[in-house]
Amino acid sequence: MPNPDPHRLEDIHRRLLDRDPIAPAQLAELVLDPLTTRLRASFPAVPDPALIEDAAADAVLNYAERPEQFDPSKRGLLGYLQMSAGGDLKNALDALRRRQRREESLDVVELHPDRRNRVSMASDSPTTLEDEVVSNLASQGLVAQVQAAAETPKDAKVLQLMIDGERRTDRFAEALGLEGLSPDERRRAVKRHKDRLKKRIERLGLTDHE
């Protein structure tokens, strides 16, 4: 999308100052597309295109409401809108990162590949923080306490596999006697069983170690 004609933008700016009721709609039509294109180029790592579209829309709406804040002698209108939207976008991204960090500190998260490798070499599903904690228990002399979470011999086998850092669904399915199930059913049943055991470990207060 080519940049809009500067004369048209000047005309719209003048009409916005004159409170022309049509000017905001014409401005939006003229600049939203090129502004969004510029923002996408400046922020290629933005995960959600809607963030860019919202920032562009807000910059245009803000300017149309208060056109006197734009000084044409300093920069072009599109540059001004890009700067304004860019500021909002950075704030939105910061807020998003803060929220993600908060969620990561509360929830089970995937580990970075290097940490995952440290936990287990035999993995067929994402390694979680809880898994790592369970795995690390082995080196903290807490195995016996964790094993206390086992209510059945099958639980004990599964816990031992978790402590050993085992990641392969088939090994857990074998320990639970689930070989007859389809791969999908097996995966779901193993996950259910492991989740239940992790909850039990949490209740024993053994997952605070980091």
Partner: protein, 130 residues
């Protein structure tokens, strides 16, 4: 207008609904009061559904301003909407907002009563008739 531009304009129009400056805010209130969706609104204003997004991005004419008639005329001329409908929309919403401001504690009740009015009247007429 390309499809991408149309989508971007529609997104901006949706965001403008929360800003009193824009016609979008009056349209949103009117649609809420009348339980009117976009196709119904487009029929009411006699314009295409596509045109609604651009209409929403216009500055909202102020009913108390001396420029009100001229602002409405400009919008009508630019978007070929039905003038009486636009005037009705703006005046109706303005009245409702004025009443909301004067009765903040009971605005919800008032709006519910305003919405129920035609139905109650119909019901009353039915009772009278039968």
């Amino acid at each position: 207008m390309s499809e991408r531009s149309r989508d971007l304009t529609a997104n901006a129009a949706a965001r403008a609904a929360g800003r009193h400056f824009y016609l979008a805010s009056a349209i949103a209130t009117f649609q809420e009061l009348r339980h009117m969706d976009d196709p119904e609104l487009a029929r009411f204003l006699s314009c295409s559904a596509d045109m609604l997004a651009r209409l929403r991005l216009c500055r909202r004419p102020d009913v108390d301003s001396p420029d009100f008639q001229s602002d409405v005329r400009q919008i009508v001329h630019a978007f070929a909407v039905y003038p009486q409908s636009l005037l009705q929309l703006l005046r109706e919403v303005s009245s409702i907002e004025a009443m909301r401001e004067s009765q903040p504690a009971t605005s919800t009740g008032f709006l519910m009563a305003a919405r129920d009015k035609p139905r109650r009247r119909r019901h009353h007429d039915e009772e009278k008739g039968g």
